[in-house]
């Protein structure tokens, strides 16, 4: 077997070198653009880069790896089979005293070794470059290597898919490439699962399926019949998964033929306050234009034209608002829930503020990590009790800054007046020049901090901070003085949305308290929103309860999406459970599952009839029926692609059509007729010579 491995290596090494070269070149280009960004910052040029791009390991490298590893793996696998495409050369390879499985392993070992070197070494190289301090001025943790690793490992699935594509003898050339569908599915799911271990599980699962299918096809020279059982099962599954991708694509195509099928329709309603403190209602009915009305329902008219006001004009009248989602949970718990997927940068850090010479990141360990822009080196971390130079950790931590929740919205907004950070009980004001944190506001006793937000209601400077504690909502100045303090009534947890409107008149504000959506839903949307007009120094001027509008929200999916949902196999509805655990059942799409099951039953019937026609054994019919019930239309597609339908001929005995690959007629049990003689046969028994 070693000889074969060496021969395989020799044959594909050129491709591996080319792939290595191209991949390295691309990675280097991306790396250099990242370092160039920091170099430009050092030269005083301002600019912003999303959280995703400032650390290339989480932004551009995974994207590049996804594409390059996939292409490289697939071509490598395909080429290894394509080398022996001539059937006589294939015979030369196969006809030797070595089991076919071992020949297959020799190919795979050689291919994977070259893949690991060709795709892995460049990745390793850039990872090392990023790890070395002084190159990238952004946080580095070893867990950041996982996204790139996940795509690198997915490339192995593409490798086996490439092998399978090269091996399959299929009548429709398109069905040869269906194996790649599995790999694409793996890539897509790997990008969307919350953590790396789930991604790894999917990679191993997908890889095992395609590898077994490739092995099975290798054993039978690319045909379906004659494969070992495991190979056949794996091939059917692979083609089903590939068929899933195809069916999705076709549905989208079909949908594009119907006009407006991509348009989703929303309907919602919300309150909007204007600078003078008046409340108006904005309603978006499904498919109709937006309506801006007064609370009594009368449309708001533009005073100049007399006609209903336009959205742009209305927006000019709108107030300046800032809102907090109050949360009194233990900080660590909260953070875990909002940490974001392992592929997102928000899982690790978010860029908090940039001073002229330093970049400050809030890191998931709760400390502010500082990076010197000129040298791009890590300086140290800042926590509530002060700065620890050179150390990334410290004795205490800040909560995640308000307004920088996870889920990929990490665009650094330089207008955001990031000035304070909070812990469970204290809001700190940070002086980044001196690298100190001073107490801005300390909550007393049981009065924990539920949220703190810096606002710049006029212009870009910091002029206020909203602080929410268990008992109060208060507005403070940058000096730490209280502008006003309101009781937090109705209280948490029923009400967790706190919004402050800054009105045009000085010292006029409005406090909004909005109910928690889940609680409100349970109460049938009866919890109102509380609105309190106040003036600093004077207290409450007015207050009212507005009926909740949250229940009015709705969304109709576009036609394409509904088409897609109907072809998702019933078995795939278990995926949300896999991804998100049991609490997915609260909002489970039962109606879609029903449509999916009906579609699957139809497919099972079609499959049953086909099995009947070609006289499959009873056991085979049942197994395929089960397969179709589980996997619906993609399953049927896989079934059609996988089978090599035998020809049918008239039986010499009973004259009915019978399949040619069985000795006995399925109707009458007779054999096939021997070939007709024509009088020119010459037969004589042969005796052994000598």
């Amino acid at each position: 077997m070693k000889t074969l491995i060496r021969k395989e290596l020799r044959e594909i090494i050129i491709l591996a070198v080319i792939g290595f070269g191209i991949f390295t070149f691309l990675l280097v280009q991306v790396y250099r653009s990242s370092t160039a960004f920091f170099a430009n910052l050092a030269l005083g040029q301002t600019g912003w880069m999303g959280d995703d791009n400032v650390q290339p390991l989480l932004g551009s490298f995974p994207k590049l790896a996804m594409v390059c590893c996939a292409i490289f793996g697939a071509i490598l696998g395909w080429l290894q089979v394509h080398n022996e495409r001539h059937r006589d050369l294939w015979a030369f390879l196969i006809h030797r005293p070595l089991s076919r499985t071992k020949i297959f392993f020799a190919k795979v070992i050689a291919g994977l070794c070259l893949y690991v070197v060709g795709a892995g070494l460049p990745l390793l190289g850039v990872i090392v470059m990023i790890r070395i301090p002084g190159h990238i001025a952004a946080p580095f943790e070893w867990a950041m290597v996982l996204p790139v690793t996940a795509y690198f490992l997915s490339g192995i699935v593409y490798y086996f898919a490439g092998l399978l594509t090269g091996l399959r003898q299929a009548r429709w050339y398109a069905s040869r490439g269906l194996g790649l569908g599995v790999a694409i599915l793996v890539s897509v799911t790997v990008a969307n699962v919350p953590d790396f271990w789930r991604a790894l599980f999917l990679i191993l699962l997908g890889g095992a399926i395609v590898a077994t299918a490739a092995w099975g096809s290798f054993m039978s020279n690319g045909y379906y019949d004659g494969q070992p059982l495991l190979g056949r099962r794996a091939l059917a599954t692979s083609l089903m998964l590939g068929g899933f991708i195809v069916v999705m694509f076709v549905m989208v195509l079909l949908g594009s033929l119907v006009p407006n099928s991509f348009r989703e329709s929303f309907h919602w309603s919300r309150y909007q306050m204007t600078k003078d403190g008046e409340i108006y209602k904005m309603t978006q009915p499904a498919g109709k234009p937006l309506q801006i009305t007064e609370l009594n329902g009368a449309p708001l008219k533009d005073t100049k034209t007399g006609r209903p006001i336009t959205l742009t004009d209305f927006n000019r009248l709108a107030d300046s608002e800032s809102g907090i989602q109050a949360d009194f949970e233990d900080q660590a718990q909260y953070q875990k829930r909002h940490q974001g997927r392992y592929m997102e940068s928000s899982h690790f850090f978010t860029l908090w503020r940039q001073t002229p010479d330093t970049l400050w990141y809030w890191n998931q360990n709760g400390r502010l990590w500082g990076y010197d822009i000129a040298s791009r080196r890590f300086i140290g971390s800042l926590g509530p009790s002060g700065f620890t130079p050179g150390l990334a950790t410290g004795p205490d931590r800040f909560s995640r800054p308000e307004g920088k929740e996870g889920h990929g919205n990490g665009y650094y907004d330089s207008s955001y007046p990031a000035q304070t950070l909070m812990t469970d009980t204290v809001v700190y004001k940070l002086n980044l020049e001196n690298r100190t944190a001073s107490i801005f506001f300390a909550a007393t006793n049981n009065n924990r901090i539920g949220g703190a937000l810096d606002v710049s209601s006029k212009g870009y400077d910091w002029n206020n901070t909203i602080v929410v504690t268990r008992e109060f909502v208060q507005l403070m100045t940058p000096d730490g003085k209280l502008v006003w303090q309101m009781p937090y009534v109705p209280a948490y947890p029923a009400y967790n949305g706190v919004t402050v409107s800054f009105l045009e008149a000085t010292n006029r504000f409005t406090l909004w308290l909005n109910a928690n959506d889940q609680t409100n839903k349970m109460m049938g949307w009866t919890l109102p929103s509380r609105v309190v007009w106040l003036a600093s120094g004077q207290g409450v001027l007015e207050s009212t309860n507005l009926p909740s509008l949250s229940g009015y929200r709705g969304w109709t999916p576009p036609l394409t999406e509904r088409l897609l949902r109907s072809v998702v196999p019933p078995a795939f509805y278990s995926a949300p459970v896999f991804l998100h655990g049991m609490d997915v059942f609260r909002d489970f799409p039962w109606k879609d599952l029903l449509i999916s099951v009906v579609a699957a039953v139809v497919c099972a019937v079609v499959g049953w009839l086909l099995c009947q026609r070609y006289h499959f054994s009873a056991g085979a019919r049942l197994k395929w029926a089960g397969f179709h019930l589980l996997f619906g239309l993609p399953g049927l597609l896989g079934f059609l692609c996988v089978q090599e339908w035998p020809a049918r001929e008239a039986c010499p005995n009973c004259k009915k059509l019978r399949v040619v690959d069985r000795e006995k007629c399925e109707h009458c049990g007779a054999n096939f007729a021997p070939p007709e003689t024509n009088g020119t046969e010459v037969f004589e028994p042969l005796t052994a010579v000598k």
Partner: protein, 309 residues
């Protein structure tokens, strides 16, 4: 000595789409013989060979090669079977020595002398790359690689195709050389009827996917008879005679080539009232060609297309 046939098939059938390429093949190849497998292009010879070697699944039927089921040939059996393909395909980037080295590592019984003997016989340079070799040189290399493991059963698929006369002769000589060992069997398909006449003990003929001949070579030769009938004027139309292979019409005579010439045939020919009827000897090549060609009255291929004078 083992009396089992080295190859035995029962009802071996292979369909491509709706058409059978091989239909209900029942073949037995005894050990130690030289067996020629003949038929026109597309009659199913290569398909049969690929099925025997486990490179193609039969649609129906059974086969055994060296006692093993063809659908599941174990690796040890492959060590005892040599297979020379039509196209003599090898890895283009290897050179002659590398090919030998590569192959030798797989076979426990690799006879280096045989390999170098064949290589030398075909005058192959050890460092020549396969992609630079001519067809005949590649054939020689493949032959060396196939013979060196000293296989018990040698399967050759049209081995002489494209060979120059010298290479061709070397190939036949190698086949004769192999018959030194009485336990070695050669199974080959060919279009070179001269080779078949020289080396074959037995022949089998596939006629459009059906086996119609399987007998010793001399039996076939003796079964085919050529008879010339002379007539005073224009010869009468050709009657329906069982076993008639071909008939040729010329001025004043009819020439028949028949199989299984017996009294019934003689009477049928006499009924045409010829002035003279005589047996004309026929050589093996003509016998094959008339067997494999279209049945019935023959005219020369292009005579209908010539302009009338």
């Amino acid at each position: 000595m083992n009396e089992q046939p080295v190859i035995r098939t029962q009802g071996l059938t292979r369909y491509f789409g709706a058409k059978p390429a091989v239909y209900d093949l029942n073949l037995e190849v005894p050990r130690g013989c030289v067996f020629a497998f003949l038929g026109r292009n597309g009659s199913g010879k290569t398909t049969t060979i690929r099925m025997l070697l486990g490179l193609l699944q039969p649609t129906r039927g059974e086969g055994r090669i060296l006692g093993h089921d063809i659908r599941s040939l174990p690796p040890e059996a492959r060590a005892r079977i040599g297979y020379l393909t039509e196209e003599h395909q090898l890895y283009g980037w290897m050179n002659v020595n590398e090919c030998g080295d590569f192959q030798s590592r797989f076979y426990p019984r690799w006879n280096e002398k045989i390999f170098h003997g064949v290589i030398g016989h075909f005058s192959l340079k050890p460092t020549a790359r396969v992609k630079d070799l001519s067809r005949g040189e590649r054939a020689g290399l493949c032959l060396g690689l196939t013979l060196a493991p000293e296989p018990e059963l040698l399967i050759l698929d049209d081995p002489a195709m494209g060979l120059d006369p010298v290479a061709h002769r070397s190939l036949i000589e190698s086949m004769i050389y192999l018959t030194r060992r009485s336990d070695r069997t050669i199974f080959f398909s060919s279009h070179q009827l001269a080779d078949v006449e020289r080396v074959a003990d037995y022949i089998a003929i596939l006629d459009r996917s059906v086996l119609r001949v399987c007998c010793p070579l001399e039996t076939f030769r003796n079964s085919v008879q050529q008879v010339r009938l002379r007539f005073p004027g224009a010869p009468p139309p050709v009657p329906k005679i069982p076993g008639l292979l071909q008939a040729f019409r010329a001025e004043g005579e009819l020439r028949f080539i028949c199989l299984h010439y017996d009294e019934a045939t003689e009477r049928a020919l006499q009924a045409l009232a010829p002035t003279q009827m005589e047996r004309v000897p026929i050589n093996l090549e003509d016998a094959f060609i008339s067997y494999l060609g279209e049945r019935g009255e023959k005219s020369f291929i292009l005579s209908e297309t010539e302009a009338q004078p």
